[in-house]
Symmetry: D3
Subunit: 290 residues, 6 copies
């Protein structure tokens, strides 16, 4: 394990930079963003970026001499009443404190930022200029834009797959492989609640994640009484939000100016998608619902 440089930047300086990029007051009211563990004065030299603050990510940080983990998902979205090591949340908090690792979360405030999840997912889909998909609590969630020219739904999905980190489940698609798509709505993370906005956007395809059976099927039924769109692409919760990490890495150091040059920023090697393998899937040639 490399020795951390004790002359690092104070944590409060890094936090200030993060809060300029992702102002906490742009987070949704139910969200819990900001500093989860650590002391504002502790020195930061090496930073690890990850989607989820799992125990494996904390182990990776410890093994890599990391001082600060920045994640998309909050560790303590629901408040905890104990940090004993008998629960996963308690074990994570204890590990962070024992190893002197600070944790910072930027969640729905990172979803909506220019250097955020929505824009990263839109870029991975090949979109240029986009507008907000919907406005919730005064901030724009999701993006909508047009591809330069129509492509088939299958080719669109294949191209997106190439930009995403690999997962066991891959990308699930509802709609015919050959159907042309041009107008695209994207929303990183769980997208069950935004179908109304997607229909209003007149998108041909909706790229999101964590769609459950009933909302997805009802959306397809509504599409069936129209022209069949929007088709659905479930890109995976972890994978769709992972796209933000390179953006964050590229933006954080410049935001710190000269001081930032002493920082090392790593992207986690841990895949925090919970699924390890898939059996029994039937690939594209099997398609069709009737």
């Amino acid at each position: 394990m490399p020795a951390p440089n004790k002359d690092g930047l104070p944590l409060r300086v890094v936090v200030s930079a993060l809060e300029r990029l992702y102002p906490p007051d742009t987070a949704q009211s139910w969200d819990r963003v900001g500093l989860v563990s650590g002391d504002p004065e502790q020195p930061i030299r090496r930073i690890l970026l990850a989607v989820d603050p799992t125990l494996a990510v904390i182990d990776e940080a410890r093994d890599s001499g990391v001082d600060l983990i920045i994640t998309h998902h909050p560790l303590l979205l629901r408040g905890v009443h104990s940090v004993a090591t008998t629960s996963a949340k308690g074990a994570a908090v204890t590990e962070l404190i024992v190893h002197d690792i600070a944790l910072y979360c930027a969640h729905t405030n990172a979803d909506v930022a220019d250097a955020g999840v929505g824009h990263a997912l839109a870029a991975a889909c090949g979109l240029g200029a986009t507008t907000g998909l919907e406005v919730t609590e005064g901030v724009e969630l999701g993006r909508v834009g047009d591809l330069p020219e129509p492509v088939s739904l299958g080719a669109f999905a294949e191209r997106l797959a190439a930009a995403l980190p690999p997962t066991a489940g891959g990308i699930r698609v509802a709609g015919p492989y050959e159907a042309p798509v041009q107008r695209v709505a994207v929303l990183g993370g769980a997208g069950d609640s935004s179908f109304e906005a997607v229909r209003r956007s007149r998108a041909d395809v909706y790229v999101t994640a964590d769609l459950r059976h009933h909302p997805a099927l009802e959306a397809r039924e509504e599409a069936a009484v129209g022209d069949g769109t929007p088709y659905l692409v479930d890109a995976g919760h972890y994978a769709s939000e992972w796209l933000w990490l390179p953006t964050l890495r590229d933006r954080l150091v410049p935001e710190l100016g000269a001081a930032g040059t002493t920082l090392e920023v790593l992207i986690s090697e841990v895949r925090t998608d919970p699924w390890e393998f898939v059996v029994g899937a039937r690939q594209p040639s099997s398609g069709g619902t009737t």
Copy 2:
């Protein structure tokens, strides 16, 4: 289209048989089960069984001269205020009435019955005797039992896949392919809310569906501070509940006694899983979260 026999059984007789098999008062309080369309006196000769009452299933029924569709999922779980054809629900209701097709739903009452979803899924997993996973509103939801001998998680999943109808996404598994499993908890449909009961059951593996990123990952984290179990198998919402249809077919006709011999009971050919193809999945050999 075959001509329906107008001398069929009155719908009310079929409904009575269904309510003996799946008493409506064993449904959860939020559920909406029973007769959705039709007249108690209309004659029934041909019945179609399906997981979801989609427009494609209704088309199939019309094309097959079916008088009654029996589905697992309610068409109108949320009440409707209009049946105009401008919405999917309205179009479905209109199609049913115009074509004189009755619709009956057995949902959470079918989950818990002996001839129900839980037992069908347990059987597909290779379980013999089982006990209830948890008690909700006075009825047992889900089943728990032991395999005759331990098998690897991968082999267990492969065997289950062979019993399920094919889907594009297949079966997602969280846990090592080679890990041994013997005690199994099953819950057809969406299983996000029952992790506490699964842990109390000391199951090695939890077979359910529609697991989202956060609940699944948090369950895996809790497992990580213990012995790594329960592993998770997401068998697909449609596929895990489809298993009930053959049971229903085999039980309905005998329940009607002599009268039932005039009935024809079909299982729908329509796959109502909304996903048509998958791209970018990485199969078992890629496994491992660190």
Copy 3:
């Protein structure tokens, strides 16, 4: 039964005209207005106007070759989970669809419109210029205005009775027959909740319907600690809202312009007030509360 003209106007054209007259976004948030059954493309030649979409009204429509019923009260204000014929709502929906009759409802949006219930009731009371009684969710409910000169409460009620459709219960009045009234507040339908607004309006008499014992008696008690006003006139829920139907008939065809000339618009002959006869009433000469 006359043969409907298959060259009628598409339903969507009639709906557009109705929504210009009674914009749906002026309905109260709890209300359910708009198209309840039918297909936007079905041809409309003959329209029936009624207060309530009862089974008898639907029978009248069917017997008269009507393509579209327009009612004031929603059929499905509370959502339904079944349209089986075993319930009245289900039987009504089934009858509408089987006989290819569309149903459209304009309720609280019709209450507040210029060509609406409030203005029709005000006119029947002999009022000219009026102002809104109260503002709820941004729209004016009820009307207030002054008669050209004072009349006795009894004469006022008699004149109103002459304008209303006959009902078994007639018009109930609280206040002395000879008391003079000039300032009048009106609110079609159930008026229990608007006594505060009526008192603020300084009306001498409040014309509304469906007043229950406790609200009416408490309003009379509050009046008793003042000058005895407002007196109360309960004109009947059905009767007070029926006044809107002729207005609607006169406004709908011109709103459709040239296209409208092919339409025939009928007012229902069915009295949907549920009360069929009254016994034991004691008429005016018996008055007085002490």
Copy 4:
């Protein structure tokens, strides 16, 4: 005004007798029964019984030298925050205290008692033995029983009218005048919420009061998909509950034993039904909804 006998019974003794007849813990949880004004030691010599504690009833009590008013309806069902004379409730409280008149209310506990409203209304309908209509919060609300032999609905209503105190509005009936009825459900006061129980009771006719347009019409529509019953009789809120007053008068004095012989118990002459006259009613011969 007669001078009250200052050697009367202490109020607490009368209250104890009332609470034996109408135990307060049999009142519904939302209700507010018991002593509303007065001091337990004040002497009681003359008692006035009324349905509602209106200002006119309090005037009558004062003019008659009454020490205690017993009413069915609570004066302060909703709590008051002021007893200034600017509101009707405040004026009533002030009048009671200034004139040293105690007020006691027995409401839903009187509805359900043997010497209560339900039994009195059942008796006025000609019923002998009855059972409870429904059980709410552990007590039986309403009564159901059979007439010795079927009578026409019209004759039934006429007979009931003869037993009730006169009101301007009389008794409203929904159903054909000549239809035979034998099984009768009764519920004094507002009966909108008990239609389900009435249907379960298989009553031919439901006698209650304060029915509003929508619940009454929906009940008639449900009846229309069956055999047309239950018919509805709205006997008036005041009139249907007034029937209890003679029962109370006859039971209270014996309940007090020897001590009770000094008491004088009067029934109020004030009609607290708010309606003073009716215009424009069309009597039985006009009946029929088509």
Copy 5:
């Protein structure tokens, strides 16, 4: 007892003056201010001011020939359903009406007025110009200002004690006796809910009342991770709000102009703090939490 002058001002005139000084619409929405008992036309000659409308205060009013009591705390903040003398609230209402004493309450509207509780408490603390502590429902609650120069916390508390009416419990202080304070936040009455606003105000000391163990201790713990401020002064609910009474006396008569010169305004001699004595307290020299 002095004979009240029956030529006094009508109560409504005094109420109008009070409502100019303390507009009712500046009260919080949950509050209940205004006239609690009395008649607008009754003559007022002698007025008693008190913090709480207790039975002892009403006795004092009766013994002093008082026509109107003005209190800070509402008598009927929670609505009452009975004014029988068996409850304290009923006994108070009965006493007021029997003795013809009106009661008027100015509560949260008096907290926020210029001639109000907040300003009186700020003045007693030695503050000159102040700003609002926080804004709730559009009005400023509490005051914040700076002393001319720093003083020790102990001296500050001693000076405040000299301005307050005596109570058995005195003033409780959390913080070191010698710690310097200059910036002061004040909030009369119960101050548990405003710690966030106090911290935002950067006050050195927070003067309020009715602080409970947990909120006070948590506030001290938050202070401990900063610079130790804000210190806490619990001045007593009764005592901190009593300060308003002299202000009210001095402002009410001038507000009435010439008419007011006939009024006599007294401040109650009754201490309505419930605590009568204290034992076992250890005074300042014992201080220190570690």
Copy 6:
């Protein structure tokens, strides 16, 4: 700082003993009891008992080589979303983990146990046999009993003061110093919500803590319409619950049997009552509310 003996008992053994004495399922549903920090396998040699887990108590534990703190009040009653050192809760959690100190809380489960707060407070009041004051969620809260003979309220309070740890505010009493008391109700901690139960118990005096102005004054007013009881004794939240600590010390070691002999159990020297000094109090001779 003494070196902790690393051969101590595993934390899980101590936790088991605590949960036998204070079963977690006897805690109220809103409460949060049990292990707050630490690992079940960490060795415990020295234990510190305190009412509140403040930062000063944690410092004392660290300085004394303590491995486990047991407190009455939960550290995290409201869940936390961050343990950064910028908040008091975060600083406390961080200090506990950094110094390897476990924290265990027994709160409402300790209130109700035989070796609990209620019994300790009853004993300090001189009560022998007691019964429960009220039953909440199936467990008895508070105690009621009789003194061997009546004593004056003042002498009663003085005797209690001698048993309590010293605090700046001491014990506040409502009632006359010389009034005799014999029947006593006790409830450690905040007692505002139990006045109804106290009145039902017919106690002469109610010993509790954290009483606020309005509940205490209203209780005294209700007493005033009766015989003046119950008098009130506010013994201080910290002081009244501190009495439990010696009981816990005396019961914990025997509960552990032979293993327990290696444990050292200390009672904290830190007074966690937030109040440091009092000014301006007027002692007993000044009493009386008129």
